[in-house]
Structures are given as structure tokens and as C-alpha cells.
Symmetry: C2
Subunit: 118 residues, 2 copies
DNA sequence: AGCCTGTATCGATGGTTGTCGATATGACTA
DNA sequence: TAGTCATATCGACAACCATCGATACAGGCT
């Protein structure tokens, strides 16, 4: 024993993030944890207010069309973007609330940000 | 052909995020893309200014000690936390600059945040 | 109706990741 | 020096993921 008096542990403060909440938020970060998806998001966000056609995104990468479609789906399932079909083409736009929620956690990682409005 | 005049693609705006930069930032987000790591980070950040002993973190999870050690290593390699050995124990603390860089990108995903000061 | 174009889904595959038990390393005590 | 505790590393394995080609679906043309 190493002197019980000198123990380092004061009080194992309850984790500010519940297990369930952490899983929610981690899902968002995991969606951002890929360079292709990060660039897709920035390209979509660059058109603030307006939306972006998939046919504009796909040729910007040296990847197959199904792969880009997959990444867009991941971002959409994470609630970071949304889309709509208009005739032949599909348009994507940013969902700023989701990005803001994740940003809030990063700005102050000790505090649980407000629950996702979803 | 669907009327070349009606083409949806205006100008495929150059991606605001370079390939290299996107890979850097995605590495940070990937580190956050796990519920355990997210909770570890929030527990460490909760001790703003002070630092946290590993022996305080490990028992908060139903996971083996090597697994927690692994997750801490991932967070450290992402530059989100740092650590120091003091005698028998090892203490971790938050690196706020890294979290701030990622938060900046989320607050305005269209703009490339300042390069990591590392 | 039939064809063409844009986008999504499917199934397979190689690489990555989270987890564990076993073991190594570093530090304090007796 | 030997023993014990705290933490990290190693090696293995199952689960997951990014990617592809092939194919399905949806909408506009002729």
C-alpha cells in the first residue's frame, strides 16, 4: 500500500456527459472524422443560404460516385446536412443547428450542451 | 441530353478545405467520435486549470484498464489532451487550443480555421 | 414507350478500430 | 533487493468502415 493518505483520487466527479448523450454526440463527431466528409461539408456550407447540387460535389473528388453518395448519406444521418430532389438533380444544404451543438461542446467540453432540438 | 442551358452546375467552387488540411482536422474529429473518449474528455475538461489522475478516470467505466489507456493515447495523439507522470500516478489535462480550432471550423464550416499552432 | 442521365442502394472486400488478457515499465516501500 | 501498485504496451480477434463495380430507381427527353 502506498500510504492511503497520499491517495491521488479526491472525488471521482460524476461524468458531466451521460452515457446516452455521449453516444449521441460521438455520432456527430464520427461523421466528421473523415477527410472526404469534412470537405463535402465545407463545400456545402460555403453556399450559405443556397444549396448545392450533387453533380457539383462528385467531380471534386477522385472517388467513385457511389462513394460520394455514401458519405453524403452519413452526413445526412448525423443531421449535419439535409437534401431534396428537384427534378433530375438532388440538392444538399447545411443544418447549422447540428454543427452549432457540436461546436458548443468543443467550446466548453465540461458542459453538456443543450439537447439536440431534433 | 437535358438542355445544356439548364445544367445545374454553375461553378464548382474550389473546396475551401485543402486535402491535407481536411485530413488534419478529420483526425481530431475522429478522436472525438467515440462515446468513451468524449466522456473522458469532458471529465478531464471539468477540472479546468487543474489536472486529473488516471486512477480517477478508469473506474468510471465498465472497461478494462488497457482500454482506457488506449483511448487516452488516442486523445493525446490528436492533441486534445496532454499528460505528465508525477511519481506513481499520471495526470492528464485539456489542451484548449486544439478543441478551439475544431470548434471554429464547426462554427463556420465554410472557412478554414487558422492552422493548428502545433 | 423507350432511352438517357443523375443519384441511391446492394454486395463484396481489404483495411481500420475497440476490446481484451498477458506482460512490460516505472516508481514507491520495506 | 524484492514486493507491490499504477500505467502503458503488445498481440489477437471480432466488429466496423471506406471503397468499389454492378445494379436499381427516378425524372426528363424524343
Amino acid at each position: 500500500m502506498v500510504q492511503p493518505d497520499a491517495a491521488c483520487c479526491t472525488d471521482l466527479s460524476a461524468a458531466p456527459l451521460s452515457e446516452r448523450r455521449a453516444a449521441e454526440l460521438a455520432g456527430g463527431f464520427k461523421a466528421l472524422g473523415d477527410p472526404v466528409r469534412l470537405r463535402l461539408l465545407s463545400m456545402i456550407a460555403a453556399r450559405a443560404g443556397d444549396d448545392v447540387c450533387v453533380c457539383e460535389l462528385t467531380p471534386a473528388f477522385a472517388l467513385s460516385q457511389p462513394t460520394i453518395s455514401h458519405h453524403l448519406k452519413v452526413l445526412r444521418q448525423a443531421g449535419l446536412i439535409d437534401c431534396e430532389r428537384r427534378g433530375t438533380w438532388v440538392y444538399y444544404w447545411l443544418v447549422p443547428e447540428t454543427a452549432a451543438t457540436l461546436a458548443a461542446l468543443l467550446r466548453d467540453p465540461a458542459s453538456d450542451p443543450l439537447p439536440t432540438p431534433a
